[in-house]
């Protein structure tokens, strides 16, 4: 499998409190990769390192087969980036911002840019400083898409936008992906949105990537189990126990990773009985995963 983004053993430090350690990340070419993590986990820093906007202490970053930062200009010409904070001159009009941006990209598609201006109901003569948050979000996405990139790096592109604007922006993104086999790397707190569109998930916490999996493996492997007569010591389990809690009546609830149906035999072997297997959605799985990553139970 080829990768649009590969990061190996990356170290970065800003100030005394924040540090990225041994970071590894692999984004398969053509995937839609959802990048999750709590505030302050280092998602935006990772994105900025990935694009050569920050210099790491050590490690290796390869984007679209180019070494970062050495080959950053060549790589960035083929990468669309929507930053967390708008980075456009507030005194430009929409039309001027389009012309300014188009000048940097050989692959810029004027026809589609114009179509998107219409679809997004943007006023060409409007000054950027006066645009609403929603209009700004749409303009940022438009600029990234109309350059027809091979890789789109979206840092919370729809967070804080209203549902109508979010839908417009997502529709344009999906339209692009169905025309062209682009890779999309998208960081967001809107977990349910990522659950719909992403086929890979990476979870970051405290400067490290905690897990990186295809979406279906992530979702299918994490379960909540209800167990009667649970053993005091779990011993050798065929799955990873993320958390266990006493519930009323001596029963226990376990959250496990790497679950497969035949594993119910484990419980019979230790004299316990498995009462129920409950599916978790992406958000619950994400919360449980972080909770245990932060306080290991065993």
């Amino acid at each position: 499998m080829s990768h649009a983004v590969e990061i190996h053993d990356l170290h970065y430090r800003a100030g005394k409190s924040f540090e990225i350690r041994e970071l590894a990340l692999n984004v398969p070419t053509g995937s839609m990769y959802g990048f999750l993590g709590p505030n302050g986990a280092g998602k935006t820093t990772t994105i900025r390192l990935m694009l050569g906007l920050l210099r790491p202490r050590s490690g290796r970053i390869v984007v679209l087969e180019g070494e970062i930062p050495r080959e950053a200009p060549r790589v960035l010409a083929r990468t669309g980036y929507v930053p967390e904070q708008p980075h456009l001159y507030p005194s430009l009009t929409v039309a001027e911002a389009l012309r300014f941006h188009a000048a940097f990209y050989r692959t810029w598609d004027w026809k589609w840019a114009e179509e998107l201006v219409g679809a997004f109901h943007l006023d060409r003569a409007a000054v950027l400083g006066r645009l609403s948050k929603g209009e700004m979000g749409k303009l940022e996405m438009l600029l990234a898409l109309a350059q027809r990139p091979e890789l789109l790096v979206l840092d919370e592109p729809t967070d804080g936008l209203d549902p109508v604007v979010r839908r417009d922006v997502l529709t344009a993104l999906l339209e692009y992906v169905s025309q062209q086999n682009a890779t999309v790397f998208i960081s967001s707190h809107l977990v349910h949105e990522l659950e719909r569109i992403c086929d890979w998930v990476g979870v970051m916490d405290r400067g490290r990537v905690v897990v990186e999996l295809p979406m279906h493996s992530f979702k299918n492997g994490i379960k909540r189990l209800r167990i009667a007569n649970a053993p005091t010591l779990a011993g050798d389990t065929p799955f990873v126990v993320l958390a266990r809690e006493q519930t009323d009546g001596g029963a226990e609830t376990w959250v496990v990773r790497g679950w497969q149906a035949p594993m119910h035999q484990y419980f019979e072997g230790v004299g316990a009985s498995l009462r129920d297997v409950v599916d978790l959605d992406l958000e619950e799985g994400f919360v449980e995963l972080l909770r245990t990553f932060r306080e290991p139970t065993r």
């Binding site: 839609m32 839908r167 025309q179 659950e195 569109i197 086929d199």
Partner: protein, 131 residues
């Protein structure tokens, strides 16, 4: 063809992968003759945009349906419903009925309902529908 009612039950939070949910909805529609032989399915682009899912998800659903013989993907023209034998339609309907009952039974056992209680409730509900 009416697409929206066909896909309104897609649930991204379910552990059943989205492609499997989409394929299942189309299989049901074919089995119930809501979709007729020769009917065109929405294009990958249209359906991905409408459901707000990854286009690759729709492609995978259509491929699975093609492998199973429910649809035919014609290069450049789109995806069309095939003429499915009536016994295959019947077995698909039976399969769906079993899946439905399994989900119900699983939920019922979670709630601690007995077999008699479930059977009585189903019989009563169906009686009311018929009447």
């Amino acid at each position: 063809m009416t697409v929206d009612p066909l896909f309104e039950q897609i649930d991204p939070r379910s552990p059943t992968p989205l492609y499997a949910q989409i394929a299942a909805r189309i299989r049901v529609a074919v089995a119930a003759a809501e979709l007729r032989p020769g009917d065109a399915l929405p294009s990958v682009r249209q359906l991905a945009a409408r459901l707000r899912v990854n286009p690759a998800t729709v492609v995978q659903a259509y491929r699975d349906l093609e492998t199973e013989g429910f649809v035919e993907m014609r290069q450049g023209a789109g995806t069309f419903v095939r003429d499915v034998q009536s016994d295959k339609r019947a077995s698909e309907r039976a399969r769906q009925a079993i899946a439905l009952v399994r989900r119900m039974v699983a939920e019922a056992s979670r709630l601690g309902l007995s077999t008699n209680e479930i059977v009585a409730a189903v019989a009563k509900e169906l009686e009311m529908r018929v009447a």
